[in-house]
């Protein structure tokens, strides 16, 4: 997605008549659940013209990135070793 230049920004509509539908479609696209046709139509035709949806798109992408960078973690090694040990014990019985 190209960065927003002032010129582009001014050309875009400042209000979206189908906010709810667009937001639902946007989620399908970002979740990899939209058809190629839906995706093409939305990103080529709508996103380039509609300021609220354009902003929303970038916001949704940023939230997903933030979630992935801040909300994942690793299991403690001690716990992993413990689980492996118990499974082997389990097998022995």
């Amino acid at each position: 997605m190209s960065n927003l230049s002032d010129e582009q920004g001014q050309r875009r509509k400042q209000d979206c008549p189908n906010k709810q539908e667009c937001f639902e479609l946007l989620q399908l696209i970002l979740d990899g659940e939209a058809t190629a046709e839906q995706k093409e139509k939305f990103t080529r035709e709508h996103l380039e013209d509609c300021m609220p949806c354009y902003r929303n798109y970038h916001l949704e992408v940023a939230i997903r990135e933030l979630l992935r960078s801040k909300c994942t973690g690793s299991a403690p090694q001690e716990l992993i070793d413990d689980i492996k040990r118990k499974v082997v014990q389990n097998l022995a019985h």
């Binding site: 906010k19 709810q20 937001f23 639902e24 989620q27 979740d31 990899g32 659940e33 609220p52 902003r55 929303n56 970038h58 916001l59 949704e60 940023a62 939230i63 997903r64 933030l66 979630l67 992935r68 801040k70 909300c71 994942t72 973690g73 690793s74 299991a75 403690p76 716990l79 992993i80 413990d82 689980i83 492996k84 118990k86 499974v87 082997v88 389990n90 097998l91």
Partner: protein, 194 residues
């Protein structure tokens, strides 16, 4: 749930499946356990219970199928059966209320809380993690499964035993709630219109 075809794996095969197909998901599973229980000790117990259960029932796992989804489903069920009761979670969400909300005019207000990307980029601490943890467990769960773990809607429907339409509406609502929380933080950080 589809019919379970039981396998009869040898001990060597069992260990092989466990190590090659189950263990690679342990970090994701630990994170899921932690985000569900929101307690360090409970999450360790839940993870261990789940892995031991998975090993015990390994004959109902078919090689070549999605091990990660299979494990997540066991963990989710263990959480509901063994941990949810004792946790301090509020009572289950009334989904009728959610559906009503979802179909109401009020939803427009929720769709785009005026949160800006710049405000998000300044959230370098644990704001997002705290915001995620503050959501009701059912909303938290769909965000974890979809946005953190990349499960498809169909896989989520199987893991959670709910229809795909419910996966979608729950995700939609969860994301709006998360954005509301983030908006509150942004305001506190001084973004006036966030």
């Amino acid at each position: 749930m589809e019919e379970v075809i039981r396998q009869q794996y040898s001990e060597k095969e069992k260990l092989n499946i466990f190590n090659k197909e189950f263990m690679p998901h342990i970090n994701s599973m630990y994170n899921f356990a932690y985000r569900l229980t929101l307690d360090a000790d409970d999450s360790k117990d839940l993870l261990q219970d789940t892995y031991l259960k998975a090993f015990r029932f390994i004959d109902s796992f078919q090689q070549g199928t999605n091990a990660k989804a299979w494990l997540f489903r066991i963990l989710k069920n263990s959480f509901i059966n063994d941990y949810r009761k004792k946790s301090k979670e509020p009572s289950k969400i009334d989904y009728q209320e959610v559906e009503t909300f979802y179909n109401s005019e009020d939803v427009d207000r929720q769709i785009t809380p005026d949160l800006r990307v710049e405000a998000l980029q300044d959230m370098i601490g644990d704001e997002i993690s705290v915001a995620l943890n503050s959501l009701d467990v059912d909303f938290r769960t769909v965000i974890i499964l979809c946005d953190l773990e990349g499960f498809k809607y169909e896989e989520m429907a199987k893991i959670l035993d709910i229809p795909i339409g419910t996966v979608r509406s729950r995700l939609h609502r969860a994301r709006n709630l998360l954005k509301e929380k983030l908006s509150e933080y942004a305001k506190k950080m001084g973004y006036k219109n966030a």
